[in-house]
């Protein structure tokens, strides 16, 4: 049962990711990216990592991608005139590098004789994320907040007509 769902959502995630790359319309690409995010969230759910799954939906599908599509619509981007898919130059390099990286990762992470490592108890629930986040990594959390603050202030400072 779990395995069926795993393969289903994995296929969905990968398929949507391919759609992001191969679709020429930016809005459609954005929708595919959202689909990929949702499929990933479902994979997290299969790991019993409820909180991570929900945050994945909330942050990526619900916030980041909405902003993406919003910006795409405001700019009213035209359908991009991509050259026909041909292997050559940089694209060949990209494909080669991607293939090598894929093989490398596949070698590292595919189930071996020992199988997958089981997730620890309480993996991905609220407490197991919150406690390290606000204790061991409190500094990292605060620094990230500073980065975001600068992003907001900077955007206003640079984009507002009359500061």
């Amino acid at each position: 049962m779990q395995a069926v769902f795993f393969w289903l959502f994995s296929a969905l995630a990968v398929g949507c990711a391919l759609g992001v790359v191969f679709k020429k319309n930016p809005v459609v690409s954005a929708v595919f990216l959202m689909g990929s995010m949702l499929a990933l969230a479902c994979l997290f759910l299969l790991l019993d990592a409820h909180f991570i799954a929900v945050i994945q939906v909330l942050v990526y599908a619900g916030a980041v991608m909405v902003l993406f599509s919003f910006i795409i619509m405001i700019l009213n981007l035209p359908q991009e005139e991509l050259p026909p898919l041909a292997l050559g130059g940089t694209r060949a390099w990209g494909v080669a590098f991607g293939a090598v990286a894929l093989l490398f990762l596949a070698g590292k992470f595919f189930p071996t004789k020992e199988g997958f490592m089981p997730t620890s108890r309480g993996f991905g629930d609220v407490r197991s994320i919150a406690v390290p986040l606000f204790r061991e990594y409190a500094l990292a959390f605060e620094l990230t907040s500073l980065v975001l603050l600068v992003g907001i202030v900077g955007a206003v400072l640079l984009a507002k007509r009359k500061v």
């Binding site: 409820h50 929900v54 945050i55 619900g62 629930d125 609220v126």
Partner: protein, 362 residues
């Protein structure tokens, strides 16, 4: 295994019927209540063999009409997304009910069954996560329609919804701080009992500001009257669903009503004790003349369900009342209300609550 599956199916079915049923009735309530407010009679013409039932057949007539209308798809729009977006609008609105509890856990067929579809331990966040997806329905509908008014409506809707989502999410942080859990059933359980013997331990009494902010933001999320800028029929025809007709149009309409039910349900759950009965089940209800009435067995979850539904209905009434009372805001007013008034208030609410919780719990 089969019994589990059966139970889950029952819960899902009940939830669907509950939400869609109420949403269906709301189409009638909307007309009737507005009529009462405006001193008219309202819809009362639909009749079956002369029986009018104060216009209760109108939803059926509407459905028949919508089913038989031409299903129009704009020529230059994006066909797939145009068809997909009504579904994207209504699915999140229905999905969020998965974590809202209708009653306490019950023992059925030798197992403990929780009266909600899914026992996800991050329930509150899930609600907001799924609800945040509903904005796609609007934006994609507006974009795929290939219509300036639709696109304007979509942009308005997207901007308004993700602005108010911020306030919406932050407004319940206070409740989460007070009860220390993300599980909606736990939150409801913590709201049982009384202060001083007569004030129910509802969240609204510990988080009054939080509730007002939540209610305002949630109202804006439903895109109904003072906040119906994405639709704005006096300015941009019908906004994001200008090009929609037939059942696709109905899907948008229904998603709006479903969201109303959701807002009402969440208000009841988070701030008004959810399914908590107004009596102590263990001690029973002391009625004058009759004596002590003990509630037991299946009566408990049934009464809890009834209590919850009653609270939902009361909130729906309130939502309707507000919708037919206030005129539409200007767009800049909507935005400055969110970012300049509600957001500072909600942050202040969190800070004050956090300090208070720290002081009380130590």
């Amino acid at each position: 295994m089969w019994i589990d599956l059966l139970i889950v199916t029952c819960k899902v079915l009940f939830m669907f019927l509950f939400v869609l049923g109420i949403a269906g009735i709301l189409t009638w309530v909307e007309r009737k209540q507005s009529a009462v407010l405006q001193d008219r009679i309202g819809a009362n013409r639909a009749s079956i063999f002369g029986v009018r039932m104060i216009g209760l057949f109108h939803p059926i007539a509407d459905a028949l009409k919508l089913f038989t209308k031409e299903d129009f798809v704009p020529l230059h729009g994006h066909r797939v997304l145009f068809v997909l977006s009504p579904a994207l609008a209504i699915v999140p609105a229905l999905m969020t009910f998965a974590v809202i509890p209708f009653g306490d856990n019950v023992h059925v067929l030798g197992r403990e069954v929780s009266l909600r579809v899914s026992d996800i331990n991050a329930g509150v966040v899930l609600v907001f996560a799924i609800a945040s997806l509903s904005v796609y329905g609007i934006t994609l509908a507006g974009w795929a329609s290939d219509n300036r008014y639709s696109l304007l409506g979509a942009l308005r809707g997207a901007a308004q919804m993700f602005s108010y989502e911020v306030v919406l999410g932050l407004s319940v942080i206070g409740i989460l701080l007070v009860y220390g859990t993300l599980d909606l059933n736990e939150i409801v359980r913590a709201q049982g009992g009384y202060w001083l013997g007569f004030i129910p331990r509802w969240g609204v009494f510990v988080q009054p500001v939080g509730f007002l902010l939540y209610f305002t933001a949630a109202f804006a999320e439903t895109k109904r009257m003072p906040f119906d800028l994405p639709e704005g029929e006096s300015e941009i025809v019908a906004g994001y669903f200008t090009e929609y007709s037939g059942m696709k149009y109905a899907a948008f309409l229904f998603s709006e009503f479903c969201e109303m039910v959701l807002v009402a349900g969440l208000s009841a759950t988070l701030f008004f004790g959810g399914w908590q009965l107004p009596v102590d089940v263990a001690r029973g209800l002391a009625l004058p003349l009759v004596g002590v009435v003990h509630i037991s067995g299946l009566w408990v979850p049934l009464l809890q369900l009834l209590t919850f539904c009653l609270k939902v209905v009361i909130f729906l009434w309130l939502l309707m009342q507000i919708r037919w009372t206030l005129p539409r805001f200007r767009y800049d007013q909507v935005m400055s209300l969110c970012w300049k008034v509600l957001l500072p208030l909600v942050l202040l609410n969190i800070a004050v609550t956090a300090v208070a919780v720290l002081a009380v719990k130590g």
